[in-house]
């Protein structure tokens, strides 16, 4: 397995022989086919972090995240969500499917 990107709490790997990816969440390592990685990206990017600073919208600053068709469930706090957003952003940049960096150099 090759490390693609490592954030503060998480690591994204590519398992070339299995044609899939893994994310190490600390307490467990989860196998993810590419479509699940895309699905994770959508879920994570859809989280509005501003809600975490409004006690009416998000009382405890926690997010419940289900992954891989409800096979896994995580409860993450604000810092963990921010870190996961970071992992997703840089991870997609590293696997060459995001052009954000190229855009910024324009």
């Amino acid at each position: 397995m090759n490390v693609i990107f490592q954030s503060t709490y998480y690591t994204l790997y590519q398992a070339t022989n299995e044609r899939c990816f893994y994310i190490d969440f600390g307490q467990k390592k989860i196998r993810m086919p590419f479509c699940q990685l895309l699905s994770l990206r959508h879920k994570v990017m859809s989280i509005d972090i501003a809600d975490h600073f409004d006690s009416d919208l998000n009382t405890h600053g926690l997010e419940v995240l289900t992954l891989c068709n409800k096979e896994h469930l995580f409860i993450l706090n604000t810092l963990e969500i921010l870190d996961l957003k970071n992992l997703v952003e840089h991870g997609f940049l590293a696997i060459g499917l995001s052009a954000q960096k190229e855009l910024q150099t324009y």
Binding site: Q14, T16, R19, L38, R41, G96, L97, S98, A99, L103
Partner: protein, 172 residues
């Protein structure tokens, strides 16, 4: 290291995000035209209602075209949530003017995606949108023609009924 990501998906994720936003916009247009069809039916503009029923279907087809493109390129198409549909119109003229405004918004949005796809070097997405660019020319032109016809006919006396009858010319 084999490029599993590129083997799985052939466009950039930024393009995918913009196209998902466009899916939502087409779905919104479809819902909006359905609301307009409802308004037309309730206010006695039955031919215009037919016109908007047809527009509703067309917008749904636009949406599905993008949806299927995201599937073909290995992306993650998102089924859109549609909210905020306006049902209040002061007249049939208002209905068609709102339609033109909405179509212009859609045109601008598509042009914006084309420009960004070009910046990203995403030729696939750029070329895919060629069809939409030309389709928007048609859509805008149709509504402009109807508004011109309204202007010529005038809304006095039997004008409104004549307007409604003439909308039939734009239903193929």
């Amino acid at each position: 290291m084999k490029d599993i990501a590129r083997q799985s998906m052939s466009i950039k994720v930024e393009s995918m995000d913009m196209l998902n936003a466009q899916i939502k916009m087409e779905a919104h247009a479809s819902a909006l035209y359905l609301a307009m069809a409802s308004w037309c039916e309730q206010n006695g503009f039955f031919t215009s209602a037919k016109f908007f029923f047809k527009q509703t279907e067309e917008e749904r087809e636009h949406m599905m075209k993008i949806f299927n493109f995201l599937i073909d390129t290995g992306g993650n198409p998102i089924s859109p949530e549609v909210t905020n549909i306006n049902y209040d119109y002061s007249s049939i003229v208002d209905v068609f003017e709102s339609t033109l405004e909405h179509e212009i918004k859609v045109t601008k949005s598509i042009h914006n995606i084309v420009k960004k796809a070009r910046e990203l070097g995403d030729i696939t997405t750029e070329r895919f949108l060629d069809w939409f660019v030309m389709e928007q020319v048609e859509e805008e032109n149709t509504i402009r023609d109807i508004l011109d016809m309204i202007e010529v006919t005038g809304t006095e006396g039997v004008g409104l009924q004549m307007i409604d009858n003439q909308v039939a010319n734009w239903i193929e």
